[in-house]
Assembly symmetry: C2
Homo-oligomer: 181 residues x 2
DNA sequence: CGGTTTGTTTTGTCAAGACTGAACAAGATG
DNA sequence: CATCTTGTTCAGTCTTGACAAAACAAACCG
């Protein structure tokens, strides 16, 4: 699926929109929608995905109501989905002194990825348990045991390399969080 | 979620069920249901997952109607889902001379896993595209570029190590398919 | 206090997809 | 040919979950 023409926007006439920004804007839209689809594959609501996409592309934290406008969804949906992502620590809610409103930014920490690791580990555990139970009866099940071993090995290696990358990223941007220079 | 008591089975009184088999059977059930849930997370029908689970645990190919009985689902569902898995080359349909019926077995080839790799590559591509579009406007977007880089790197490494494991497994059981000894 | 602003929760609608059961097609077989 | 057998496809039902809109809560402000 690709990103098609947006529904006629309620109103956004007065904007800079320098001719060069045009392509950029299209790309942003595509990215945001793409993230919507991508996270949807991970069993998250599409809006949550779009939220993540939008926040990835934003250098500054974005205001709650800005999110609703920009994504053209109800405040309710923003509330629900920001909270969801917050709990998964994919995004972070930030506040400012003397400002009653909530802002959001993506969390540079693992977040999204941890989720994947966990899923892999779960499957590995499942296969492991099955392998155990298989042990006692040693009749015609050599092949089955092999298969399960393959499974276990696969998910194990996978989860390991995942964690490695995670760690690398974590330590990398643990120090550098520069203000754009 | 865990596997709870099965709905009262239509009939399965006369079975060996040596006291030791008991635990095994429970474990099998758990594994099969677990696979159902797991593949469901990957956007496949639950029945497809159960099918995969069942076939992983079976040393011999299983008959079409056996699948329907064992899983207690309609033949229609078996038909649909076996075909689905067949197209993804997760399972294989095998036939026997002089036997009109269809048998199925899991395919030791990648299959299921290839799917994961593809998904990662897609996401990587998405981020890559966004990074390109970002280039022209170099105003306040240093942070964003960094984030996208992180993304790209992450999925890249991930897909690579995945492919590595896949290749390893593929070459490993390409030769050895012993008959249980 | 009454009225804003800001975010949350709830209620209702809608759409997507899984699954069943029945109708169906295509061979076999008497 | 009538009738099984075996598998496929189709129509209908049911469940799930996303979403919007409205009701709500809690600060804040005058």
């Amino acid at each position: 699926m690709t990103v098609s023409e947006p529904v006629p926007a309620p109103d956004r006439s007065a904007e800079p929109a320098a001719a060069a920004d045009f392509a950029l804007h299209a790309a942003e839209e595509r990215f945001i929608e793409g993230m919507g689809l991508a996270l949807e594959e991970d069993r998250l609501p599409r809006i949550a995905g779009r939220l993540v996409g939008l926040l990835i592309l934003s250098p500054q934290p974005l205001r709650f109501d800005h999110l609703a406008e920009r994504l053209r969804v109800s405040r309710g949906s923003i509330s629900t989905n920001t909270r969801l992502l917050e709990n998964m620590s994919v995004i972070e809610r930030v506040t400012r002194p003397g400002d009653r409103r909530d802002y959001f930014q993506i969390n540079e920490q693992p977040g999204l990825l941890q989720r994947v690791v966990d899923r892999f580990r779960d499957r590995q555990a499942m296969a492991e348990e099955m392998k155990q139970a298989l042990r006692p009866s040693a009749d015609g099940t050599g092949v089955v045991a092999d298969r399960l071993d393959g499974f276990i090995r696969f998910y194990g290696i996978l989860a390991d390399s995942l964690r490695t990358v995670l760690n690398a990223m974590e330590s990398r941007d643990g120090n550098s969080r520069p203000g754009t220079a």
